[in-house]
Amino acid sequence: DAGVTQSPTHLIKTRGQQVTLRCSPKSGHDTVSWYQQALGQGPQFIFQYYEEEERQRGNFPDRFSGHQFPNYSSELNVNALLLGDSALYLCASSLPSIYGYTFGSGTRLTVV
């Protein structure tokens, strides 16, 4: 089991562009959560997807949107990139239970 896989691992974009990050959850997991982790900070919750719908959302602007597919994989889209969007974006999968999350290695996004 490869666990949670994220692609790409690194990405450089120009301010104003749009970006799509991808996540494949751990086998058997049906819930995907996305986090933004700036340097020296803890992961900040962006949103969670379950049954192809956004179930919870953190304090992020509408420029951040997502999608979940029938196979439970997920995408995170960020429009109109700002320099401040530069961060490590983490995907975590889980079951809707008391268990913790399984994290991917993240996508390092740099906006120049």
Partner: protein, 107 residues
């Protein structure tokens, strides 16, 4: 809104010394609480969760509802415990993390 506070960004102890990483949460309900660890060049991984009352790698964490704390403890630190530690709380499918504490165990 729920909030997790880890007051120490850095913590350094000698090998064999006891270690305690502090975590406080603010939420009026009963969230689920977790400790996650990130070793150098590895992904964030679950260390333990309060509901299972388990000891993992010698670490334990006790939930104190009166003080709204969930401190992580180990009686004898090892060099391989050096890592970033994140406390997290989950309420209603919303998992929030603290800023993390970098633990360094010196030989």
């Amino acid at each position: 809104a729920q909030r997790v506070t880890q007051p120490e960004k850095l913590l350094s102890v000698f090998k064999g010394a006891p270690v305690e990483l502090k975590c406080n949460y603010s939420y009026s309900g009963s969230p689920e609480l977790f400790w996650y660890v990130q070793y150098s060049r590895q992904r964030l991984q679950l260390l333990l969760r309060h509901i299972s009352r388990e000891s993992i790698k010698g670490f334990t964490a006790d939930l104190n509802k009166g003080e709204t704390s969930f401190h992580l403890k180990k009686p004898f630190a090892q060099e391989e415990d050096s890592a970033m530690y994140y406390c997290a709380s989950r309420w209603n499918n919303d998992m929030r993390f603290g800023a993390g504490t970098r633990l360094t165990v010196k030989p």
